[in-house]
């Protein structure tokens, strides 16, 4: 079986993961802003997911590179660079003592990131479509092979 559709499914899931992590951080920051969370809670929540997000993004980029999707690789490169730089300068974690001073900047940054991931999401969706991933997935449902027809098995219950 062609790996391409499978690859795109992985990209899709990773992208969803990145969007989710970003949303989570944005929500935490908004809660902090609205005083639903205290700074300790909020920053520890965010700091917990920062590294996973960076790793996920790194994997995302590298996977694009390895699979030869140059355009996507280049598209994710700037964000990867920013992440790396923040990490190297040890600025990637939220500083609980100064969180209110950086709040608006951090929030904006994450919203921009979220927008970027959403854009990527759209692109990935089109590629999924183009790659025929859907057909592969859907083929499960439309399979001529009776044994693989899940519907039939479900319906039989």
């Amino acid at each position: 079986m062609d790996l391409e559709p499978l690859l795109w499914i992985i990209f899709f899931l990773m992208n969803m993961g990145l969007i989710a992590l970003n949303l989570y951080q944005i929500v935490s920051l908004s809660d902090l802003e609205a005083d639903y969370l205290n700074p300790y809670e909020s920053s520890s929540r965010i700091n917990h997911v920062v590294i996973p997000e960076y790793l996920l993004h790194g994997a995302f980029s590298i996977l694009f590179l390895l699979s030869g999707h140059w355009f996507f690789f280049l598209a994710t490169l700037p964000a990867a660079y920013i992440n790396l730089r923040k990490f190297m300068k040890r600025e990637h974690l939220i500083d609980v003592t100064e969180v209110f001073r950086v709040l608006s900047v951090e929030k904006k940054l994450r919203i921009v990131k979220l927008g970027f991931y959403l854009l990527l999401f759209v692109l990935v969706m089109t590629r999924i479509y183009a790659a025929g991933t859907f057909s592969v997935v859907m083929s499960v449902f439309h399979s001529d092979n009776e044994e693989l027809d899940i519907r039939s098995s479900i319906l039989e219950f």
Binding site: D35, N38, P39, Y40, R90, V96, T97, V99, R101, L103
Partner: protein
Amino acid sequence: MGTENPNRASYSQRPSTSPFFAAQTASPFSSSTPVAGAEASSFHSYNPIPSSQIPPSSSEASGFRSVQPGRSNDPAGPPPPPSYGPPQTGPFQHLSGPQFSSPVQVPSLRTSAGEWPVVAPPVRPPAGPFSSTPVSFQMRPQPPTIPFGSPPQSMNTVQPGMNVPLSSVDSPFGASSTNLQPSSPPMRAPFPAARGTLQSAFSGYPGQQYNIVPQAPPVNSVAFPPHQGGSVTPPPAVSGPYVGQQGGYVQSPPTTAPVGMYSRDRMQHPASLPPLGTAQGLVEDFSSLSLGSVPGSLDAGIDSKALPRPLDGDVEPKSFAEMYPMNCSSRYLRLSTCAIPNSQSLASRWHLPLGAVVCPLAEAPEREEVPIVNFVTTGIIRCRRCRTYVNPYVTFTDHGRKWRCNLCSLLNDVPGEYYAHLDASGRRIDLDQRPELTKGSVEFIAPAEYMLRPPMPPLYFFLIDVSVCAVRSGMLEVVAQTIKSCLDTLPGFPRTQIGFITFDSTVHFYNIKSSLTQPQMMVVSDLDDIFVPLPDDLLVNLSESRTVVDAFLDSLPSMFQENTNVESAFGPALKAAFMVMSQLGGKLLIFQNTLPSLGAGRLRLRGDDARVYGTEKEYTLRVPEDPFYKQMAADFSKFQIAVNIYAFSDKYTDVATLGTLAKYTGGQVYYYPNFVASIHKDKLRHELGRDLTRETAWEAVMRIRCGRGVRFTSYHGNFMLRSTDLMALPVLDCDKAYAMQLCLEETLLTTDTVYFQVALLYTSSSGERRIRVHNAAAPVVADVGELYRVADIGAVVSLLSRLAFEKSLSYKLEDARTSVQNRIVKALREYRNLHAVQHRLGGRMIYPESLKLLALYGLALCKSTPLRGGYADTQLDERCAAGYTMMALPVKKLLKLLYPNLIRLDEYLLKASFADESENIWKRLPLSAESLDSRGIYIYDDGFRFVLWFGRVLSPDIARSVLGEDYAVDYSRVCLTEQDNEMSRRLMRIIKKYRESDPSYYQPCHLVWQGEQPREGLYLLANLVEDQVGGTNSYADWLLQLHRQVQQNA
């Protein structure tokens, strides 16, 4: 003129106005030169009114005013404090006030004199508000007079109770009529006091005008400009009819101007007088413009003696308190400008920081303590929506059943127990018994719902470095002795808790349980996984374990006498202290001597690197290196622990990093470079003693609320934010101030007044949960000139310095200094653009009277320890420590640090009599080498140290008698002690007096002989901010530079 006054009075007379008379009296009058009398005289006719009110209405008000004139009689005298004086009747004896006013009057006030006769006649015996009206009549009858008539009374009295319109008004005015006559030149004996008052009252008018604004918006645009910070009485910019008079009036500004101003005009530009004349002429044309700003001018190469200097110390803005009598004292809250711009575009033309400096626990002089209110039965009255506490500015409606919040204007119900009828004028009848409705500052006793846990006991925990350096420098011994001597005076007896940990390469815990006779020491050497043995016995109640604690402190120095350990496990010890304290919170005092070298939080000897200066990386030296400390600070703050750092070291000890502990926990950094017990022990003893014994608030949170349309956006100081606007202050005391900046949320403010409320919820040492509330109101203005005119230089400089220091933590020092300079230039340019064209003052420097010291303080700020020079100018640790200190200093102390006192002593020492002791020794000199006469002795006092400077050709007799027989030896080793002669005793008395006047820190006395390098340069010459030292600007150059920049893009 007379007419004008009445009119103004009539507008302004509003409840808030009257108190201002009093307040203003103090400053304008005092600051004014004798000439000021002229103005006053012109207004005599009017002024008597306020004064006359005195006898009938309130003793307070009268006392206050009267006091002022008395003092002000001495033109050279120091400005009387703006505070409300105690009731006194004395002033009436002072004849001099009126006397000098009358002579002056003649020459200076031509126009006014002309009008004078006019004014006098109108004065009629009739009582009641009408007396004032007739005056205004000449010009035009002012309808507003009557409505406002009553309020003024209340203002005078400060007690709303006095508001009752009829009675109070009548009497005062009746009196006034009598007074008016006395005011004519010949009269003096009976009414001297009245005259004094008049003068002051006159200057007070501006304040009154303020009030107009909130009340009658249309009026304000016109009336506002004249308003001069109170010190310079501006010509009232009033509508047409007044113009002519104003011309006359206009003259006064120069005359009224405070000494500095006046002298500048007169001395500096003999040639400028003509221009002034033209300016006046122009003013007549542009009467609606604020001439009041009588722009100071500066020509190149001008007499440096005439430059503005804060030789009178910090002059607080009177207008603030005068406008709104029910505002809290400026001790507690100062706004950088006592007016709020009404639009964002206007705010953007105020180029200085817009904000406030709050010192919520400032020490109040006797009889001005914050009243305590107990709301046990009713619960604390607060607004349902914005949680504002009930305050003097709320209004009661619906027969007293509802009250309207002054911040969010929500209508709240008055709880049944709090209900009181309203009288005819809409005031509560029980107002006199309700300090929370009459005073700007009150303290509520908080009921149980304000506690998350039972109020904590005062808790002091000591973390003491016992490595070899600490022992050898004598620090350990001094600390142990001092702590022991303070045990009796620790606040909160008998609940106070105490505990100790010492550390070198291991961490030592002490079991001081009361059942023991000797303390038990436990050593933990596992630094990677620190644990606390006997967690319950390390922190004990002081009164129960007193004997054990005493035994411990007695034996502490000897215990480590032989210690040769040079390591420091500071990080693990810090963690251990945290574990012990986290149950309760409290104050952690850290005595640190060696750079942390073991375990978590170890620091590199990163040191000061000359190569880094001037590069982008420069700031990294000044920011904490290890995130461990920030994290610890955050944890400390979370558990209500405040950290005070005492850093002693002869080597680099990374104050920048250690200081973060204090910065985020509301603590303080004390730095004793090269500590040697024999020299510095007094300083350490005093400061540690004060730290331990001063009144302290525990587990506090502070919030400042403000009316709709404005919002506080950033906060600066030593604290941590717990939510966007809630400052967590584990410990708070009178020596700490916090600054905040505000911004406008709406493009256009529709309200007339913006209210502020600082609320501090804390646990007192006695274990009571309390809420201290400070209220303030500020008018909204539509005119940029007004913004500048009512600026408060102290608050502006305080904010500027904090911003500059913060900037130096992420940019180069150079950038921080440039930003200060740019802000000053922008502000001056803005102001110049307002006035330069009309007044044709092209070549002169123009600045608002209120900000006349802005340039000087800006210069001083750029030369201050945290911001000065580069690598070689200050040691890095010293720089950082000074920065942390400045971030917490209250306004007055900061100003003194920036522009220290320089006072000549030898004349005083030689003088035979003591009579004038109190006055003479406060005469401050400009901070420049020119002030130093080589035949004299000078003392330099910046609040943190004294430098005693001996001139080269000082007579040996004096030196010998002051210093003893060994006067000729190296001064660095001479310790000033009292000798057995009058001169020495006197000197010591002066020094003692200075120290007592500023007890927050101990000022060690350094002796310096003229020409003794490098000590002279180090201690004194480098700190003479007006001089050109090592590549910095002198004051005159700095002004010229600013002036050029202002003009460049004007």
